[in-house]
């Protein structure tokens, strides 16, 4: 190739022709294909495993994945070694922080060191109270193995809960197996559960009966058109919204001889928990 072959000055060569000759067109197509391929890969990579939880203050998953730069500052700042960075192929977005409650749960530090240095706001700095964090929601998944459901007094998940008697309560129920014993059933209340995972971590079973799941998997959503009568009533000074002049319809099929409403039959004996 001689030097004279190249135009040193004057008009540049036809740009379309130059695009072809330099291989730029192929490069552009390849780059587009890589981008499209990565896009479809990214949707697969977002099928997160159910036991991987995000740190406190994490934005909703889709926003989190666009915000987190995978620097690991939260991992470094966690004093309990709870947080880890997701490895390749974990389905979490490689390099993003997560924790598994069964391994090391969140200790719910009141000063939240993990989100203090987050540079992008993937961990929302507006979260000022760790009790408002919603890392997930505890769900008593397996009632067949939970010792309390079997009638024992394990209560461990209830006792380790940082929001004891709020996030987990023990609900008293009669044990139908003996008819004379009670069962105290651990019951989670989403209004208070931060998803710290202490309960799952502490569950004495070989495989935890209570597990913390990401909110998207743990929580149902009521249609917006539902009205809860008791709440409406409370907002209406205790009065029914239907008014007083409702016609009372007879209840058919449950009448007693006296014609009054049905009442449950009395218990056989005295019932003790």
């Amino acid at each position: 190739m001689s030097k004279q072959a190249k135009p040193v000055s004057g008009k540049p060569a036809n740009p379309v022709r130059r695009l072809f000759m330099s291989g730029s067109l192929g490069a552009a197509c390849a780059a587009g294909m890589v981008g499209a391929g990565l896009t479809s890969y990214s949707t697969q990579a977002q099928s997160a495993p159910a036991d991987a939880l995000r740190p406190p203050g994490a934005l909703p998953e889709a926003d989190f994945l666009s915000a987190c730069v995978r620097c690991g500052l939260c991992v470094r700042d966690c004093p309990y070694d709870t947080l880890k960075l997701a490895p390749l192929g974990a389905g979490l977005g490689v390099g993003t922080p997560y924790f598994k409650a069964r391994h090391i749960p969140c200790e719910m530090c009141s000063d939240m060191p993990c989100l203090q240095h987050c540079p992008t706001g993937a961990l929302d700095p507006r979260l000022s109270d760790i009790n408002q964090a919603r890392m997930g929601l505890a769900v008593l998944l397996d009632q067949e193995t939970c010792l309390n459901f079997l009638g024992l007094r394990c209560d461990v998940c209830y006792r380790v809960c940082p929001a004891i008697d709020e996030a987990i309560t023990l609900e008293k129920q009669r044990n139908p197996r003996s008819d004379r014993h009670g069962m105290l059933l651990p019951t989670v209340h989403s209004a208070h559960c931060t998803g710290c995972g202490k309960c799952e971590h502490a569950c004495v079973l070989e495989e935890a009966a209570i597990k913390v799941l990401p909110l998207s998997q743990a929580k149902g959503k009521l249609g917006a058109h539902y009205r809860l009568g008791w709440e409406q009533k409370a907002g209406n000074h205790g009065k029914s919204l239907l008014g007083e002049d409702m016609v009372e319809l007879p209840v058919r099929g449950l009448e007693t001889s006296a014609g009054s409403a049905w009442t449950p039959p009395p218990l056989d004996g005295e019932w003790k928990p």
């Binding site: 390849a30 981008g35 666009s66 995978r70 470094r76 992008t120």
Partner: protein, 279 residues
């Protein structure tokens, strides 16, 4: 007479020291903090970090992906990226590639082995691929709403691997080694890596540049062409009629040409025409 070994390899040695020191600081600042009253010298990784628990640093390319994906970052990240951009505007954009990036050591080794084993040929994609990839990655980050290149970015994967010690992503880095060794000479850093391309854009206006001020001494030994990772930037300044300053963004300021040139044609200097050196 040949110059001493240290003089002939000084920038290579300095670069390896720089690359290793940064990774080691990231990895062991925690252990060191015990002796420094709890102070972390360097915390985080190359994507974002905190120097001495105060100064934020953010990789501009990674942050650009996040921006494209639709997240407006906190001020900390913006300041961090501004500091990094300002630094590389002074130090030369792709100096990141030569002085910081750990993949550089991988691809340099691949090239060394390629030469040693006498592997020739193969096929390298167009030099412009990295720029197309840069654009494509940002575009598709916007479409997918995630930091697309960070799913596979071997630079991020390798440094995170070395700093945090997790997972299997070294497979990707091994793939780059094999690709550079057998298929494309300097394939990854020279043709594909969009992160390097992003830093290359910064380099177009960077202050610290390599100058061939003494190009009249050149004896056409071709040593610099053999070692230069982007040899296309050498010809115009060495043989052309125009400027003797390498202003191309592709130059990574690795200083290898300064190392190998027995005639001492090259030196580090600023990007302006005026000669700052003594006659």
């Amino acid at each position: 007479m040949k110059r001493s070994f240290l003089l002939r390899e000084r920038f290579l040695i300095l670069r390896r020291v720089s690359q290793a020191a940064i990774l080691l600081l990231f990895a062991f600042s925690g252990s060191l903090s015990g002796y420094l009253g709890g102070l972390w010298l360097l915390k985080g990784n190359l994507s974002a970090s905190l120097v001495a628990d105060t100064v934020p640093l953010n990789d501009p390319f990674v942050l650009a992906q996040s921006l494209a994906a639709g997240h407006l970052p906190e001020l900390t990240a913006v300041i961090g990226a501004a500091i990094v951009i300002a630094f590389y505007l002074l130090a030369g954009g792709r100096s990141f590639c030569a002085w910081v990036c750990p993949v550089n050591a991988v691809t340099d080794s691949a090239l060394w082995l390629r030469r040693r084993a006498g592997i020739k040929g193969g096929h390298a994609p167009a030099k412009s691929l990295r720029l197309w990839l840069l654009g494509s990655v940002l575009l598709f980050s916007a479409i997918s709403g995630s930091l697309l290149w960070e799913l596979v970015n071997p630079v991020s994967l390798l440094q995170r691997e070395l700093i945090f010690g997790t997972g299997l992503s070294l497979v990707l880095v091994a793939a780059i080694f094999v690709y550079d060794l057998t298929i494309a000479q300097r394939g990854w850093c020279g043709h594909i890596c969009p992160m390097g391309a992003a830093y290359g854009l910064l380099g177009k206006g960077a202050l610290l540049r390599i100058r061939a001020d003494k190009r009249d001494n050149c004896d056409d030994c071709m040593d610099c062409f053999k070692v230069c990772p982007e040899p296309q930037v050498l010809k115009p300044v060495l043989k052309g009629e125009g400027s003797s300053i390498i202003r191309s963004g592709a130059c990574s300021n690795c200083g290898r040409c300064i190392d190998v040139c027995e005639q001492q044609v090259f030196r580090f200097g600023h990007r302006f025409e005026i000669r700052s050196q003594k006659p």
